[in-house]
Amino acid sequence: MAIDAATVRRVAKLARIAEDESRLEPLAQELSGILAWIEQLNEVDTDGVEPMTSAEAFPLPMRDDVVTDGGDPARILLNAPKADRGFFVVPKVVE
C-alpha cells in the first residue's frame, strides 16, 4: 500500500517525532518502497496459522506481586534532564 505525505504526517504525530514538511514526501516514497517489498508476504498461505509472538517454548514465569526493588530516588534521578527535591521536573501538562 502506498503511503502519502498526509499519512506520514499522521504517523509522525503518533510517533511523537517532529518531521519537517519538506521531509514528508521523500519519507512517503521511502516507506512506500519498503511496504511494496513487504507486500510479498501476501503470497504466503497463513490460513489457520497461529501468530508467533515468542521464539520460546517456555511459559512465562510468574512471581508474587511484591515490591522487589526501589526506594532509591537519588539513583533514579541521576540522569534526569531536570530534577528537584526528589522529583523529575517536566513541562507543564495541565493548564
Binding site: 500500500m1 511523537r16 517532529a18 516507506l31 503470497e43 521464539a55 517456555f58 512465562l60 541521576l78 513541562p91
Partner: protein, 491 residues
Amino acid sequence: MTSDLTRLTLKAAIAGLKEKRFSSAEITQAHLAAIEGARALNAYVLETPEKALAMAAQSDARIAAGEGGPLEGAPLGIKDLFCTEGVRSTAGSKILGDFRPPYESTVTSHLWRDGAVMLGKLNMDEFAMGSSNETSGFGPVVSPWRSRASNKPLTPGGSSGGSAAAVAADLALGATATDTGGSIRQPASLTGTVGIKPTYGRCSRWGIVAFASSLDQAGPLAKTVEDAAILLKSMAGHDPRDSTSIPTDVPDFPSFVGKSVKGLKIGVPKEYRVEGMPPEIEALWAQGIAWLKDAGCEIIDVSLPHTKYALPAYYIIAPAEASSNLARYDGMRYGLREGGPALTDVYEQTRAAGFGTEVKRRILLGTYVLSAGYYDAYYLKALKVRRRIADDFHAAFGKVDALLTPTAPSAAFGLGENSADPLAMYLNDIFTVTVNLAGLPGLSVPGGLDKDGLPLGLQLIGRALDEGTLFALGAALEKAANFGAKPERWW
C-alpha cells in the same frame, strides 16, 4: 612484547595470565596502547583506561593470591548497547546523551564476576539498526581490512561493527555484541572473526538497550571458535530479571571444541542459493560442505521454503517492536531534552533531534504497521509468517543436526556504497535473519578470503539450546579452513 600480547587468543592470554608469564596490567596496557594507536578505525566510542587499569590491578591481586575466575585479567571490549554502571552508555545514539546507567547489565556483570577487564565501549549502529555501522551517532567504524584492489574505507558490518573491528584489529581479546537480525554474524563474516548468536533466552537481555525484544540476543565476537565458547559460557545463564531468560544450566561450551563431528547430519538449504550471489560465496559454501564431509559429516539437502519471506516479515516485526521500545526516549527521565514549552513539543523536538534517519524511518514504519486499520494486514500477517519460518526449521531439524549456509551475501563493501538505499542495506541480513525469527543459535566462522583479500564467513545454524554442536562443527570448519588471515596494519 606489547604487540605480541594483543595478538594472543583469549585462551592463550588466560593461560599466560594464570601461569604469571605476564600480568593483567601488562596485557591491558598493551591493548590500551593499541586502541590509542587505532583511533582512525573509530571502533571505540569511549575508552576507559583508568577503569581498565584498576580492574587489571584487582585481577593481578587475585591471581597473586591464587584466586581468580575463568576470564581473570583478560581485557575485553563492550558494545555500547550494554549498560555499564557509571560508564556512559549510548546505544550509538545522541538521544541518550551522557547517560550513565546506575546499574550493570547482567551479561557484563557475568564477565566481571569471572575476572574480565573492561577496555571501553564499542561503536555500533544507532540502537543496533544497521548493517554497516554508518547509522551510528558517532560516525561509522572503518574496517581494519582493505581490499587489494583499492584503499577505499570499508565497512566492518553492523550493527556490532565496533566489536568486530576491535577483535579483528587486536584492540580487545574478545568483545560483547548483540544480534537482532544478523548484527553479530554479518560483522564476523566481514572481518574474519567468529561470532555466535545463541538461542533466544540463553543470555539475559537485562540492561541491554532494547531494540526488538522478541529477537534481541547477546553473544560474543572472538578471534577463534574456542574463544567464542569461553566468552559465551561466561555471558550466558538464567536471570530472573529477564522473564524470557531460559531457566536452564549453561553447558561447558569450550568442551565441545575439538569434539568429533563424525556422523552428524548437516542440512544444506537450497533456498539460500539466491540470485546474484557472488560465485566466490557459492564456491566457499561448496568448500564448507566438502570440509564437513571430510570430517565425517553426512550432507543432506533440505528445504526451508519460507526463507525469502523472512526479511520482509522481519521488517514489520522489528520496527513494530522498536517503535514501542523506543517510546521511552521522551526527554523526561534521562538523555536529551529539547524544545518546549508545551509537553508535546518537548517530545517531538527531543525525538527529532536525538534520533538519526534510519531509527526514525524504522519508528515510523513500526508505528504505521501497528496503527488502527493496518495491524492485521501487516503485523499479524508477519507473526503468522514468522511461525511458518520457524516450522520450516523444526521440520528440517527432524532430519539434520545442523545447517550450513553462507553468513552474508557479500564481502565487506565500501562506506557510503549502500547507505542511500535502505532496501539494499536490509538485504545484508538475508541469510542471518531467519535464525532470529525462529530463536535458534547461529555461528559464523571465517572460511576464506575473496579475490580482493577480504574475509568471507560460513554460518552454522543449530537446534534451540544446541550451541554445543555448533561449537564442535565450527571448530571443525575452523581447523579445515586454517584461516589465520589478519588485516595488514595501515592505521
